[in-house]
Point group: C2
Amino acid sequence: MSVTGVGEFGLIGRVTARLSYGPTCLLGPGDDAALVTAPDGRVAASTDVLVEGRHFRRDWSGARDVGHRAAAANLADIAAMGAAPTALLVALCAPPDLPASWAEELADGLGAEAASVGASVVGGDMSASPTLTVAVTALGDLAGRAPVLRSGARPGDVLALSGRTGWAAAGYTVLSRGFRTPKLLVEAYRRPQVPYRAGPEAAAAGATSMIDVSDGLLADLGHVARASGVALDVRRDAFEVPRQMGDAAQALGVDPYTWILTGGDDHALAATFPAGTELPPGWRPVGAVTDGEGVTVDGRAWEGPAGWDHFR
Amino acid sequence: MSVTGVGEFGLIGRVTARLSYGPTCLLGPGDDAALVTAPDGRVAASTDVLVEGRHFRRDWSGARDVGHRAAAANLADIAAMGAAPTALLVALCAPPDLPASWAEELADGLGAEAASVGASVVGGDMSASPTLTVAVTALGDLAGRAPVLRSGARPGDVLALSGRTGWAAAGYTVLSRGFRTPKLLVEAYRRPQVPYRAGPEAAAAGATSMIDVSDGLLADLGHVARASGVALDVRRDAFEVPRQMGDAAQALGVDPYTWILTGGDDHALAATFPAGTELPPGWRPVGAVTDGEGVTVDGRAWEGPAGWDHFR
C-alpha cells in the first residue's frame, strides 16, 4: 500500500510502532515535541538532508540502507564534535505512490544505526512531495568536555584518522558503471561503517581539531586548514590500498587514491593531536600540521578531482 | 544569481553572514555541529517540513514570509510543551535556478521569527533538489518544569485557548480564490502571530495538557481527547467572528466558523487547566473537559469539513 493509501497519521503510527527508545529518550513521538536528555547542559545539534537522485537512488540502495546512511551522516557530525549522539529527528517527504513499506524500512535503518551508538529516533514529520527527501537532525551530549572544533589545529600537531576512506566512493563508482559487485564495496557505499566512539575518545585524549570526512578527505581537511589557519600534509603511504579496492580500481581504470583521498560518505573522522599524544584506539597518524595554508599530499598539491559541491 | 551560480559553500556563507546569534547559541554554523544551551538538562525537539506547492506557494508568500512561517510552525511546537525555544536548524532543498536572494530572505525570516522569542538559527544543510523544501528542527528548554503533554486533560478541567484561529485559513481561502486582499487576512496566512510565551506561562500555571493548533482546532483537540481519554466540548460563542473575517466570509460564501474551528496554521495554543485556575494573560476559556471521547461543539458533533492530512 502507498503512503497516500495509509494516510499521514496512519503512516506515522506504523513507523513509530517499529521504533524503540533508549534511555536518552525521555519522550518519543506522539506529542508536539520530543524530550531528550542533555545532562551536559549543552546540546550538540546537526542537520543533513538526503535527496533522491542526488544522495541516493532507490535502485542502488534499499530503504534500510538509506536509513542507515542518513543516520550515519548526522551521527558522524555529532561524533566529530567529540559528543555522544543521543537522538535523531527525521523529516520524510514522500511521493504519494511511495510504498508505505519503504517508509517503514527507512525507519528500521534509521533506528538501527541510532541504536548502534545508544541514540534513538525520537520524532519527525512527514509530508507528500514530488521528491523523496530525508532530512535528519542529530543531537548529542558532550559529557562536560569542550567541543572539538575545526579551528584548533596547531603547527606541530599530528594529523590522524579513524575509520576508512575511499570505500563508499569505490562502491559508488561500481554502481554507477552498472555493476553490483564486489559486494564489499557496494555495501560500504550503502551502509558506511562509522567509528562513532572514536569522536568522544579523541576529545578525551586532547584532540585539537576534528572533522567528519563526508565530502572527501582532502576537501574536508581543507576546511580544517582554513578554520585553523594552518597547512596540512597527508602522507600517501599512510593509506594502503585494500586488495578488493585495488582490484576494482584496476578493472574500472581508476586510481584508487582518488577514492581514498577525495571520496566522501565513509564518514571517517579526521583529527589533529598535540605531538606525542598517545592516539586512542582506532586512530592512526596520516600526516602533519605545519605553518602555512592549504592541504598537500606528500608535500605537493593534489592534481586529481576535488571534493563535492551539492549544487554543482 | 541562482543558488547553482553561487555554489553550496558560497550560499552557506551568504546566508550565515545574515544571521545573528543570541545567548542560547554557544556555537553557530560552520563546524560539524552547532552547540546550544540546555540548562534544564533535557532538551525539547521538534521537526516540521514545508514543501512548495503543498505548504506554501512562491507567488502567494515571499521568501521572508516562508521563513517566518516555517520557524513559527516549529517554535510553536516547542512552546506547546511549555518550553522556551532556544534554536532552529534548517535543511533547505533548492531547485538549481532558485535565486540566491530567495534563500537569503528565507534565512532573514527564519532568523527574525526565532529572535522574536530569544532563539537563534544555529545550523543547517543545503542541497539541490527539484522540489523547494524547507525542513526545520526546533529545540527548547523546559526550565525545570515538567513537559505539558497531550495526555493530561482530566474531566472537570477548563479548555482554554491563547492566540487566534481561522485567520490563516481565511487568508488561504482569499488567496486561493485569486484575491490579494483583505491584507489583514492574507498577512495572517503569510506570517502567523504565535503566542509563544503563553506556552511556558500555561505550564507554570499548571496546565494539564497543551497542543499547538496547526491542523485546525477541532482536529488538534481530537488528538488531546484521544491521548487523554476524555471528551472535549468547544463553546461556539467563545469565538467572535472578527469584522474583516466576517466580511470576507460573506463575500466568499464561507461559514466563518469553518475557518475558526477547522482552519490550521495560526498556531494558537490550546490547553486544559484544573477548574478554578486563574488563567495566565492571553488565555481565555473556550470549552470544557468531560468524561467520554471525541470533540463536540456546543454538545454536538461538528458537521463541517475536518482537519488536514498531508498525504490526502
